[in-house]
């Protein structure tokens, strides 16, 4: 069943791959000794992770006083980083869940890595609400458990508690979705492995054997989990925005926050996916699976969500003016022109102005421009959260308590430390698990492989290119010495 082959869509798998070649290519990074680039990056990441451990220990030992928070500025880099990391996580779920429901085939090339990124980003995000309590060992108080104080329950009416439920549910569901997708691919790695590796992957693969009934249930499960994850991902950043929107602070108390935060989350998440995948496809040699077509599709999403975010920024300003309410008006005048105007300008440049280059197809397909844009957007989205939190809090109700906030070295080190945590986890992931979903890529080969689509942008670049509608048997032979059926087989 090769399905419908679109005559105009560009291929998503290049190089005339056979099923076996897909397995070889995607499993390769898990089977080889890591290269020098990986080792150096890993060492740097682990050093940053060490900084994280040190700065968190310092915070706990010295107390929250080691941060530059005060009565006026009671949230600083901590919650800025929290919202930033949660937002980054959203792209993984969007790619794997929403694009699955929309039947977008380009999802298969990037969903695995994006989901991994989601999980690691949520792990990083989760650190901040815990650390900012100062007394980490009291973190259990946020859960409604039968305690000796009555039991005194938590406040279920508080958006901060909603956040606890939203983030922990999001993490759990993302992890289950990701792992269930990984099981068949771990089985592929297992069946190629020998010795001790085989034992490890046997445990990880849960005994997967590719039975048709299992596949049927697996697809059914994936579809329903995608259906559940779609409203979930929208709810998570909505609830994060409630942390601000439900508080009676001019500049925060706005109904536009939920959609604005969700669009911003997807925007920043795609930027992070691009940053990671542009490097990963090169280092892990996956250019034929994460093609320019994938990059262009993601850039289109960036253009859309960046523009939504831009409209939201302008709407905020317009509504502040239109409200006729001087305190609201002043809050936004202060945001744009006040002491933090540098961060507002940075946010506008990075998030709204610069992504407009993606109206040009050449820019969307340029790896160089895409990489720099992805970095800009990550910075811009960090600024956005900082603008919302710092400019609003620095000018509170009482002008005598106005202040200006700059972080201490501890706060900066914690942030750099979470980057270390994130990249350490991601680098381990690229060596342990197939970075591209093997089974899912194989399932779109007959409709999106370049030897079947009749569209050959790369013809002539690949020595082993095969003509259209070539049979897979031919491909097996093309792959050279890679066809090695076990000794117990017999050709008829």
């Amino acid at each position: 069943m090769s399905g419908h082959v679109s005559p105009i869509r560009e291929p998503l798998i290049e190089g005339g791959k056979s099923y076996h070649q897909i397995t070889e290519d995607i499993c390769a990074p898990t089977e080889q000794t890591p290269g020098l680039a990986w080792i150096i990056t890993f060492i740097i990441s682990v050093i940053c992770l060490g900084m994280f451990a040190f700065s968190v220990a310092w915070t706990v030992w010295v107390g929250i006083g080691s941060w530059n928070l005060n009565r006026t500025i009671n949230w600083g880099w901590d919650i800025t980083n929290f919202v930033w990391w949660v937002g980054i996580g959203h792209a993984g779920t969007l790619i794997s869940a929403i694009l699955l429901l929309f039947r977008q085939k380009w999802r298969t090339g990037v969903n695995r890595a994006a989901e991994a990124m989601t999980i690691f980003a949520v792990i990083c995000a989760g650190q901040f609400p815990l650390i900012h309590m100062g007394r980490l060992w009291l973190a259990i108080f946020i859960f409604p458990y039968p305690n000796t104080r009555g039991p005194l329950w938590v406040n279920f009416n508080s958006p901060l508690l909603w956040d606890v439920f939203a983030i922990s549910t999001y993490f759990t569901v993302s992890l289950l979705f990701w792992y269930t997708g990984l099981v068949p691919d771990f089985a592929t790695v297992r069946d190629r492995a020998k010795g001790f590796r085989k034992k490890i992957y046997s445990a990880l693969a849960f005994g997967w054997n590719g039975s048709a009934k299992h596949w049927q249930r697996w697809e059914s499960l994936s579809l329903v989990l995608a259906g559940l994850a779609t409203p979930l991902v929208l709810s998570v950043h909505t609830i994060v925005s409630f942390d601000f929107a439900t508080s009676v602070i001019p500049g925060w108390h706005t109904t536009i926050f939920p959609p604005y935060f969700v669009a911003g989350a997807i925007f920043s998440g795609f930027a992070m996916v691009l940053t990671l995948m542009l490097i990963a496809r090169k280092v892990l040699n996956l250019q034929e699976y994460i093609t320019l077509q994938h990059i262009e599709s993601m850039n289109k999403v960036i253009l859309l969500t960046g523009s939504i975010v831009g409209v939201a920024y302008l709407t905020e300003l317009f509504i502040a003016w239109y409200s006729g309410y001087i305190y609201e008006q002043w809050a936004f005048q202060n945001r744009v022109l006040g002491p933090y105007s540098w961060s507002y300008i940075g946010m506008m440049l990075c998030n709204v102005i610069s992504p407009q280059v993606f109206w040009s197809k050449r820019a969307r397909r340029s790896i160089f421009i895409t990489f720099f844009m992805s970095i800009f957007i990550n910075i811009g989205m960090w600024f956005e959260r900082f603008v919302i939190i710092a400019t609003t809090l620095a000018r509170d109700y009482l002008p005598s308590s106005w202040s200006y906030y700059v972080p201490t070295w501890v706060e900066i080190m914690i942030f750099v430390g979470t980057l270390g945590l994130f990249f350490t986890l991601f680098l381990i992931f690229t060596r342990v698990a197939p970075v591209v979903a093997i089974a899912e890529v194989k399932s779109i080969l007959k409709t999106s492989g370049d030897q079947y689509t009749g569209f050959h942008p790369t013809a002539g670049h690949h020595g082993h290119h095969v003509p259209a509608n070539a049979h897979t048997e031919a491909n097996d032979l093309q792959a050279g010495g890679t066809v090695d059926i076990d000794e117990d087989h017999e050709i008829k």
Binding site: N155, G207, G210, H489
Partner: protein, 192 residues
Amino acid sequence: MAHSIADEYNLKTGEPVADGHHHDVLFALYDDEEKLMAAVKEANSRHLHIMEVYTPFPVHGLDPLLGFEESRLHQAGFVYGALGTLTAFGFMTWVFTRDWPIIFGGKPYWSVPAFIPITFELTVLFAAVGMVVTFYIICGLGPGAEPIRLHDRITDDKFCIAFDLNHGGDDEDSIRDFFSATGAESVHRKLV
């Protein structure tokens, strides 16, 4: 017919003896899902009893040919989700109206709109966790699970149709005949 080469389970005679606990499996590997689909159709028309089909990725259109009904996993998911809804909403109602009523911000004890976010989250959590656990249990998968695994290339690029010689009710010759007629790439025999 060609003889099967002994694998680790086979006796030296090449005549595997099944002891009732084992399946004496005769299976063939195909190199393409379209050949597999055609073969399954052919097996149905020859009234052969396929034990199991194994594929490296989900092959669409295969389920009806094998007579699979639609999975009811999503119905289980609905039940788990409803359980989550009731748990969350019921618990918050009990806490704030019976166990320890507290007024927050002058709102009523039973402030339903404020319960919606947590109720939603727990609905999703219960449905997702319940379905995933159910999936692994009904498939018999999990850490340490050892279901039948016939060939290492099945998770790579080969599509497998397997027959049980002891319990399937089809004689070996008709199965081998079917395999060669449908273009199987290789035929194997294994006691599992």
